[in-house]
Symmetry: D2
Subunit: 138 residues, 4 copies
Amino acid sequence: MAFSFPQKVLFKHCDPAGIVFYPRYFEMINDCVEAFFAEAMGWPFEEILTSKGIPTAEISTRFQSPSHHGDHLTLSLSVTRVGGRSVGLAVVARAGDETRFTAASTLVLVDGAGRPTAWPDTIRQKFLSLQEGPDHAP
Amino acid sequence: MAFSFPQKVLFKHCDPAGIVFYPRYFEMINDCVEAFFAEAMGWPFEEILTSKGIPTAEISTRFQSPSHHGDHLTLSLSVTRVGGRSVGLAVVARAGDETRFTAASTLVLVDGAGRPTAWPDTIRQKFLSLQEGPDHAP
Amino acid sequence: MAFSFPQKVLFKHCDPAGIVFYPRYFEMINDCVEAFFAEAMGWPFEEILTSKGIPTAEISTRFQSPSHHGDHLTLSLSVTRVGGRSVGLAVVARAGDETRFTAASTLVLVDGAGRPTAWPDTIRQKFLSLQEGPDHAP
Amino acid sequence: MAFSFPQKVLFKHCDPAGIVFYPRYFEMINDCVEAFFAEAMGWPFEEILTSKGIPTAEISTRFQSPSHHGDHLTLSLSVTRVGGRSVGLAVVARAGDETRFTAASTLVLVDGAGRPTAWPDTIRQKFLSLQEGPDHAP
């Protein structure tokens, strides 16, 4: 049930060592999450942000193997945890069979004043339907 | 023994919600690590990179509280673990008394072919002299 | 004969005013030029850069109208001038009928030492075949 | 009467060719303009942006000579034209005696709805006092 996001490694992503500068990976992850909300959830960021926010509260990332200019990555995003006001996501980036990085993050829905707020019911149901495995948080 | 790195939150760091876009925090962290190697370690990245690399192998970050345009942050970097070919770093960013984010990362020294390689002795001794606490890795 | 490059305005592109931060437009332009070389020229950057470089020597840009998060832009790239060692490009970005920005740039082919060097014949012919109008530089 | 802004070329600025990726120069320019408004004009962006905007309407840049990781640049910003609702700026970046790039830009003050609006009198006077030469626009 993973959401798939292709990303070629472009010139702008790469550092003097010829490999991806890791802060650029977080832009890729954010682009992937943004595409996931637009395409899989039907709730694009540009709509959410008219009244709410959806900041990343935490993210842990392992960079297993470097990516070079021209590599064709696929980021696979899965829903790992569905809370009342937060959601856990996992992103794995691969080039062919090789894993380049794995990331686990928690996003929180906030209102206009930055206070955590409950997911709309339809959104929470959608997360649950996409979630892999039984790890439903309260 | 933390290395201190001031960083005003600039226009370029901020997103449509008026707060720091989190991938920009990783650029700040990288700038802080680069300044630490240049100023505290006496081994600037532009020297290291003539023959070696020092990629980030993993990083975990918690974003406790948002930062707004114009905020004056201070990033404090500590050495938390000294390995033979890697080093653990912790970075805490504060605005006044408020913690904005905390990060823990592992950097690995690699040779020109990308293989992990041992720290020069003087560098390892320097890390150890800067390290806080007794958590020396083998 | 323009090369067309679609680009949705993403969260990462936008500033606290909710519009594209203009340095991000230059990343879009660079991505468009990189796609043009890969797809229209058959000479991808990751190949060029194994032995050469293709830096931007100058670029002039007018930002006619702001772009907002979620806008669907199309960048249209044309070859405007073909020199022996340089090429002139024009990029126009539109959302529907509205022009958002126009850019004119000159790129120079350089060898491994950074010295301007002649286009391979097949590349120069390809530029000429793509060029609009009679403005062939010597 | 130029405003001086030091900028070391950092790892994040550089591309696989080991030189500054040119969109990063526009971030440097924006940082320089932001520091100019805060320090020379006494009107920081974070204040302006509570009710207004100050977008870049056009910018022309020549990249004379590449900059490498570790280079110490100085950006010098001058006011070249003072309009009723716009201002012309020139930025020259040098490393020692060598010019790396020159840029000329026009910024426009806009109100909350994005319409051009007149500079506050004190700001316009300040621009005029900083301007070099007699080229006062109407």
